[in-house]
Amino acid sequence: MNPDIEMTEKTTGGGGKYDWFWFLLPALILVVIFFFLPIIITFFISGTNMSTATGFQNWKWIGLKNYQRISSHPETLEHLWLTVKYVAFTLVFFNLGMSLVIALLTTHISRGVGFLFRAVWLLPRITPVVVYVMMWRFIAADAPYGILNQIIIKPLGLKTANWLPMAPFLFIVLVNGFIGASFGMILFSSAIESIPKDLMMASLVDGSSYLQRIRYLIIPHLRWPLLFVTTFQTLSLMTSFEQILVLTDGAYNTEVWALWAYHKALSTYSGNLQWGFGTALAAILVTIGIVMAVIYMRYFKFEELVQEPKIETQ
């Protein structure tokens, strides 16, 4: 008998019926405290009128009024549509598109140069958010100060401008996309590297072009990371707002849903933080996130993608 299997039998054979529970308990405690309880509290507060003015002592239960207010709010559709556009554009062009292009390019050049190139693309992710966004602000700043104006626009004799308000949507996509691209880039690169070399070489020997190899060999091997990145980044982008907060603070029509919730619940210029209303906005985001996750899991058939472990169990 294989010694590994023998060991497995010894360690599992003498256990009690609920051993699995004790193994899971530490993780379960963390999940309950940091995932389930915050969601429950979020939904709970969303049913109250809690705000700075009521404090934690004088709030009242108002049922679904916050949700009714959201449904009749003149800006609800505007924020929702912006969020959909922002998530879709950033995801398609950067978190998936750009990251795939970088992964493909850097795995088709010499290993050292490819590694260096990917390392450069990690810089936006490892730079502190405020510093990173301030760099963008100075790229876009008004003439005569902005880097864009000074280095490109002026020498070409074109009209200078304050570029951030000129193309705010483009900037929020770029700022987030340049960070997001590195996530997929790492996963895709490692997935491409793990494709057996004989398959890669054989495809070329059989006469396929590089493009055909990408289309018929590499992409099919990337199904799992592609679907994972799509799912993970959709949910991540829906709730991310910190770059937009620092870049525009929601000005010029860049108030995505998560930023709207933040502003209502945690940041007003002079006073009343509407925790109840803000958490109702957050609760809707949580609900959309859960629904999206379930749709992704079912539609993409994740279970089929995860292979059974190649090990004998009996």
């Binding site: 507060i45 002592q57 003149p74 951030l164 000129m166 945690l266 002079s270 006073g271």
Partner: protein, 466 residues
């Protein structure tokens, strides 16, 4: 339901307490002799006297207590940072709910509405006359400033500083435009009388751009980022914020539309750059302080920043007096006097429950000790804020400061934000509409309609549309 919520909250907090280790403060039996008072304020580095003045004040208070035979001694702890108002409100509310708030909190006067409604602060007196009788120092406060500390007939705070938001202008640029010295000197008076209006300012700035006196887009610069300064235009066209009889916020449709039209007009006329909102503060300060714009709106406190930071090498205040003039914000209506929005910061005293400490009487008494011409002038001069005391007008260290003496008359033409609990919602909505109008995303008319619709949705019965 509240029990379930508290249980959930406790479950959240419980692990934090476990992992927090032995850092928790055990309540000490300190005895009756030492009373700790914690003061929190925010400000830029030149405004450190907002807390540092308490060092001297507490000495005076302890001397008095000793002379009276009172066995209590006050010790203070100061917290001072440069946080945003939103951060201050958030952290203060959390600490007050946890019973760990400072004893004295400095805030914008409009914070009184939220803090008092939540039960975080105590009323200091039932009327202005009552608080003036409490301590002679309070009687010295300029009378109309108490209005900013009132809510529901009670006094909730003590003014700490106040400012004006003047219209600044470049003297050399006006001269280059052909204005005589006498005409330039008379400008503040003409604005005060309503003879020089916002339309005149636009026309002058337009002429300066056309004649090449200033670069295109440099005829008039307003504040580059969000702030209450913009409400001055709304006010200039006859708008106002609040109906005290109804205790409701007010939006005057006609004034709002004229304000939004003004914001778009300055761009259309080429005196303010396209997409100007959001320009970095450093760019703004650098441009206006070096006289590259003809007119601009700023705060009186910025005079000190320009002198001390941006013009330090060119002579500071001397350079400014030679090159920059200041006046009230012009009216939008001919014949109506100019004005200025003042935003007093006020000290408030927290409740025993919010702070977790006793000794409210001493906190109020300490505020009296800090409200003196000697201590307040140190803050006023260093941070170029206007004095809050009647006695400062004749106090040499104050009135020898030319700028502060020059602008003190503006307090006769000032107005305040309302102390209403939902005012921040009013602000959010009008700011959004103003941006949309100025950057041309919506016409001033459409922006006005959208803003009113938004205000009605957000405020409901708490709003009056005029």
């Amino acid at each position: 339901m509240k029990r379930i919520f508290l249980l959930l909250l406790a479950l959240m907090v419980f692990p934090a307490l476990i992992f927090a280790g032995g850092k928790q403060e055990v309540a000490k039996e300190e005895g009756p002799k030492e009373v700790k008072i914690v003061i929190r304020a925010k400000g830029n580095p030149t405004e450190h006297w907002k807390v540092d003045a308490f060092d001297e004040a507490v000495k005076l208070l302890n001397e008095e207590l000793q002379a009276e035979g009172d066995n209590r001694t006050v010790v203070i702890e100061k917290i001072f940072d440069d946080a945003s108002w939103a951060d201050v409100v958030r952290s203060f509310a959390m600490s007050a709910d946890a019973g760990e708030a400072p004893d004295i909190i400095l805030g914008g006067h409009e914070h009184i509405a939220v803090y008092s409604t939540a039960g975080y602060i105590i009323p200091l007196a039932d009327s202005v006359s009552e608080i003036k009788k409490m301590y002679p120092e309070f009687d010295d406060v300029i009378d109309n400033l108490w209005a900013s500390c009132m809510l529901h007939g009670k006094v909730w705070g003590v003014p700490q500083d106040i400012e004006a938001r003047p219209l600044y202008y470049s003297i050399p640029k006006l001269k280059a435009l052909g204005w005589s010295n006498a005409k330039i000197k008379a400008l503040p008076e003409r604005i005060k009388k309503g003879e020089f209006t916002l339309d005149d300012m636009i026309a002058t700035a337009k002429e300066a751009v056309a004649k090449g006196v200033v670069e295109p887009g440099h005829g008039y610069w307003h504040r580059p980022k969000r702030g209450p300064d913009f409400y001055q235009y709304y006010f200039s066209y006859g708008g106002y914020f609040y109906d005290p009889d109804e205790n409701k916020l007010v939006i005057v449709e006609d004034a709002l539309e004229k304000w939004y039209a003004f914001q778009r007009k300055i761009v259309d006329e080429g005196i303010t750059p396209e997409n100007f909102i959001g320009t970095d503060w450093r760019i703004w300060h650098d441009t206006v302080s070096h006289g590259k714009a003809l007119f601009w709106n700023g705060g009186s406190w910025q005079w000190g920043e320009w002198a001390g930071i941006y013009l330090k090498d060119q002579g500071g205040q001397e350079y400014l007096f030679e090159n920059v003039g200041y006046a009230l914000q012009p009216s939008g209506v001919r014949g109506k006097s100019g004005g200025t929005l003042s935003h007093p910061t006020v000290y408030m005293v927290t409740t025993e429950k919010a702070s977790g400490r006793k000794g409210r009487d001493l906190a109020v008494r300490l505020l009296a000790k800090v409200t003196t011409k000697e201590l307040n002038t140190k803050h006023a001069v260093e941070s170029t804020h206007i004095g809050i005391l009647k006695s400062q007008a004749n106090y040499p260290p104050y009135n020898k400061d030319r700028f502060l003496s020059d602008v003190i008359y503006m307090l006769d033409y000032n107005y305040f934000l309302p102390n209403h609990v939902m005012f921040s919602t009013w602000e959010d909505a009008v700011w959004e509409g103003m941006q949309a109008a100025e950057i041309g995303q919506r016409s001033p008319q459409d922006s006005t309609a959208a803003t009113i619709k938004l205000l009605q949705a957000e405020l409901g019965d708490a709003l009056i549309v005029k």
